[in-house]
């Protein structure tokens, strides 16, 4: 079970609730509280997204999670870092540092970056095209693993041995290895300059559900976050992704699939509906229409709010250079549910296309149990509509219900994120060769 910490909540209007204080989203005490509530709920990890463009106002992911590592003891910490504008050597050091200071609780969510606008913040004329971005990302991950594999092993250290040769070090001494990575895009000499991370590799997470995303997920990811609207779609995705693993010599249990879940939970159905209605009241219709219009060859504000979404004007997933799988999901949802524009805006506001649930804890536990036992999920990426209230409600009402059903742990059993998730330590290639 992962907590996705995000601003004042995953409902886009959460910041307008009377109890919300949006200025807190730059305050470490706010995140500390969320992390401690999640840890009280025995959740596996806390995850934050990141982006390299725009006017969103947020704390950079690796720095935030490093600060949270000092305020927590058991919960895993998964930072998003995009590969397109980062360096393998930097990422290897950032994630290894988080793993060291947290005692083996780090994860890295590998993204390729969703916005064309990012390139201009790094002096690049254009954002690489979708499938090329994934090729770059896969190579990036390979280079990073080579670096981690060659990290200084404190268990074997008696001082690295300087020898003759291009690196001045003996890679087969078991102490440091040159990365010597030379790919189509990156050339990373190494060696790595930190001790090998306590988890071997921080847990590798991936969140793209397009064809390129699934292919990369099957090859490198140990956790996959995904947006799925229905049980059937989630089950199809789950089966598809797990069926791709044998091609890479991997077993089903080496990949944990966690669909996003946006819960609005209360003691009665009526109270939960009320909370949902209050959030929907606060949606800024004009802004939302402007944002959603970028997915169409049309300005949605020129159409009647209670009329149908002009599906024939929608851009095809292949026509946009980002979040392709999400576009397909939204179009399917509009078509299957014959949504009006107003309904579509509200559905999107409520978790941006992830599975949203409004109701009692018992009913939500029923739904989660069904997904978990019937091949649609190994766990969930919990995306409360509003913080901290939505998270507290989930931890205090839903987690005990899941524990009663023996579906969720009663206490942390391990100390590392790998142990929480039941993922084995990777075997370093240098040692495997000896």
């Amino acid at each position: 079970m992962n907590l996705f910490a995000h601003g004042t909540g995953h409902h886009e209007a959460a910041w307008r609730l009377p109890e919300a204080d949006p200025r807190q989203t730059l305050d470490i005490d706010y995140y500390r509280h969320l992390a401690r509530v999640a840890e009280r709920g025995l959740m596996d990890s806390l995850f934050v997204s990141d982006a390299y463009f725009g006017r969103i106002n947020k704390l950079e992911a690796t720095t935030l999670l490093a600060a949270l590592s000092a305020a927590t003891e058991r919960i895993g910490l998964i930072a998003t870092v995009g590969t397109t504008y980062c360096e393998p050597y930097h990422l290897a050091r950032q994630a290894a540092t988080l793993d060291h200071i947290s005692g083996g609780r780090a994860g890295w969510n590998i993204v390729t970056g969703s916005a064309d606008a990012s390139s201009l913040n790094f002096g690049k004329a254009e954002h690489p095209e979708h499938s090329r971005r994934y090729r770059i990302a896969e190579e990036f991950v390979d280079a990073v693993k080579r670096l981690w594999d060659g990290g200084i092993d404190p268990a074997l250290s008696g001082g690295a041995q300087p020898v003759d040769g291009p690196s001045g070090l003996r890679p087969d001494s078991g102490i440091v290895g040159e990365a010597g990575f030379e790919g189509e895009y990156y050339s990373v000499k190494g060696p790595f300059n930190l001790p090998r991370p306590p988890q071997g590799y921080p847990v590798l997470v991936q969140a793209g559900s397009s064809e390129s995303g699934r292919a990369m997920g099957a090859r490198v990811a140990e956790v996959v976050f995904t947006a799925q609207q229905t049980f059937d779609a989630a089950r199809e995705f789950y089966a598809d992704l797990k069926s791709r693993l044998p091609a890479y010599g991997r077993l089903p249990e080496q990949l944990v699939i966690m669909p996003g879940l946006c819960p609005i939970v209360a003691d009665t159905e009526a109270e939960a509906r009320e909370l949902e209605a209050e959030l929907n009241e606060h949606v800024n219709m004009q802004d939302a229409l402007k944002r959603l219009s970028s997915r169409f060859e049309a300005d949605l504000s020129e159409y009647p709010l209670d009329g149908p979404v002009p599906l024939h004007k929608a851009k095809l997933p292949g026509e946009i250079n980002a979040l392709r799988s999400r576009q397909q999901l939204l179009l399917d949802m509009i078509e299957e549910e014959s949504l009006t524009i107003r309904q579509f805006v509200r559905r999107f506001a409520n978790g941006r296309g992830h599975f949203a649930f409004t109701g009692t804890a018992v009913r939500l536990a029923d739904e989660m149990e069904k997904w978990f036992l019937r091949g649609a999920a190994d766990g969930f990426n919990i995306m409360p509509q509003s913080f901290p209230g939505g998270l507290e409600a989930f931890v205090d009402k839903v987690i005990p219900e899941l524990q009663n059903r023996k579906l969720f742990r009663e206490a942390y059993e391990g100390t590392t994120l790998r142990e929480h998730l039941g993922l084995a330590m990777p075997v370093p290639r240098y040692r495997a060769l000896r």
Binding site: A13, W15, R16, P18, P22, L26, D27, I28, Y52, F53, G54, R55, I56, N57, K58, L59, E60, T62, T63, L64, A66, A67, S69, A70, Y85, E87, Y89, H90, R93, Q94, A96, T97, H100, I101, A117, L120, N121, F122, G123, I152, G159, A160, P162, V176, A179, E182, E184, Y185, Y186, S187, V188, K189, G190, P191, F192, N193, L194, P195, H282, N284
Partner: protein, 373 residues
């Protein structure tokens, strides 16, 4: 704090070192309890062996300092940045985050970065070091300039959070900066609001003339490897002249001398330690070492400080783990008794601790002067 006057107090900063997190936590706590202004987390962009044959490694500085921000309350947190291998957009965001999370205690030390690390940041098909390495000081200057503009891309009051109207920000107060330099280009705006300090302080190391020129343009503080008070006086005069030529006030730069203090019970013992230290450092790198009893070390610090060429000292990484605690426990109280060092326990931003004003937002200033946007 101004450059002169009876109120003048020493500035002290200390380097963190090693890949051991627990050791860094202890160093930061010792420095904070002693009343130091800041700790500096070094960057390492490649693998290298130290004089003792052990790998010289440092944790990634921003992650380290973010974790340290949780266990400390008043000390400044300065991250070293290798400009040649980084992007201003990434670093401006990390410093912004660290500044918010530490409530105004973030800073950065911009260094060019070692040429030997180039192989770790290669692009297949690109040969040789790029201009960011070949013209390192000019690149570092641009890097600092881009950081300031990125932080200023949000005016201090850009966020309005008008719940009733559903408006989060005043879009007119968040700008693209369209920075296009010779070494870095970044369009902006940044995706975090202007940091609590406005612009977290920027330190430069000054060695050669090009380093001085860069610091005179962009630095809030400069760290120099000085070996004598005469050298310090020349450096200060040169920096003053360069700052004035750049249209800056000479007193807007703090000059720190890099120092290895070796404190022992007796002067003989200290001199023995100093001898071993100089051997370990090697003849190639001469260092400023003050060795002696606490009183003797304080005497030398006082003599340097009273000359008014420098504003304080940066304690370099020390080869023995007991040297920083000894300095903190014995020399710092002596400096305080002499009225040379602040009382300790002060909570302020790093900037105000260094006696530097919070800078105006360059875009907001332009707008006011122009009468319009």
């Amino acid at each position: 704090m101004s450059a002169g006057g009876a109120d003048r107090k020493l500035i002290l900063t200390a380097a963190l070192d090693g890949p051991d997190y627990a050791r860094c936590v202890r160093q930061a706590q010792i420095a904070e309890q002693a009343g130091f202004h800041a700790v500096v987390a070094p960057e390492s962009s490649d693998f290298r062996l130290g004089g003792n044959g052990e790998p010289e490694a440092a944790l990634e500085p921003f992650s380290l300092l973010a974790a340290l921000s949780a266990g400390t309350a008043s000390i400044g947190l300065i991250a070293e940045v290798h400009a040649a291998y980084n992007e201003p957009y990434h670093i401006a965001r990390k410093l912004g985050a660290l500044d918010y999370m530490s409530r105004g205690r973030a800073g950065c030390h911009i260094a060019p970065g070692p040429a030997a690390a180039a192989g770790n940041f290669g692009r297949t098909g690109e040969g040789g070091p790029g201009p960011r390495l070949l013209e390192a000081e000019a690149a570092a200057t641009e890097f600092a300039e881009a950081l300031r503009l990125l932080w200023d891309s949000w005016e201090d009051d850009a966020l309005v959070y008008d719940k009733r109207a559903g408006v989060q920000m005043d879009e007119g107060k968040v700008r693209e900066i369209d920075y296009a330099g010779r070494y870095y280009a970044v369009k902006g705006p940044l995706n975090i609001a202007r940091p609590p300090q406005g612009q977290p302080p920027v330190l430069f190391a000054v060695t050669g003339a090009r380093g001085r020129s860069a610091a005179a343009k962009e630095a809030d503080a400069a760290v120099a490897p000085l070996l004598s008070t005469a050298e310090a006086a020349l450096m200060r005069a040169d920096m003053r002249a360069r700052m004035v030529r750049n249209g800056r006030r000479a007193e807007d730069l703090r000059l720190l001398a890099e120092l290895c203090p070796v404190v022992a019970e007796t002067n003989e013992e200290a001199r023995e330690l100093e001898h071993r230290l100089r051997q370990a450092f090697g003849a190639a790198s001469e260092r400023l070492i003050f060795a002696g009893t606490a009183a003797a070390v304080a005497d030398r610090i006082e003599a340097w400080f009273r000359q008014e060429a420098i504003d304080g000292f940066h304690i370099a990484p020390l080869p023995r783990p007991d040297l920083l605690p000894a300095f903190a426990a014995k020399v710092v109280p002596e400096l305080r008794r002499r009225g040379l060092f602040r009382a300790g326990g002060e909570t302020s931003t790093l900037r105000s601790g260094l006696g530097l004003a919070r800078p105006n937002n360059v875009f907001a200033t332009l707008k006011r002067r122009g009468g319009s946007d």
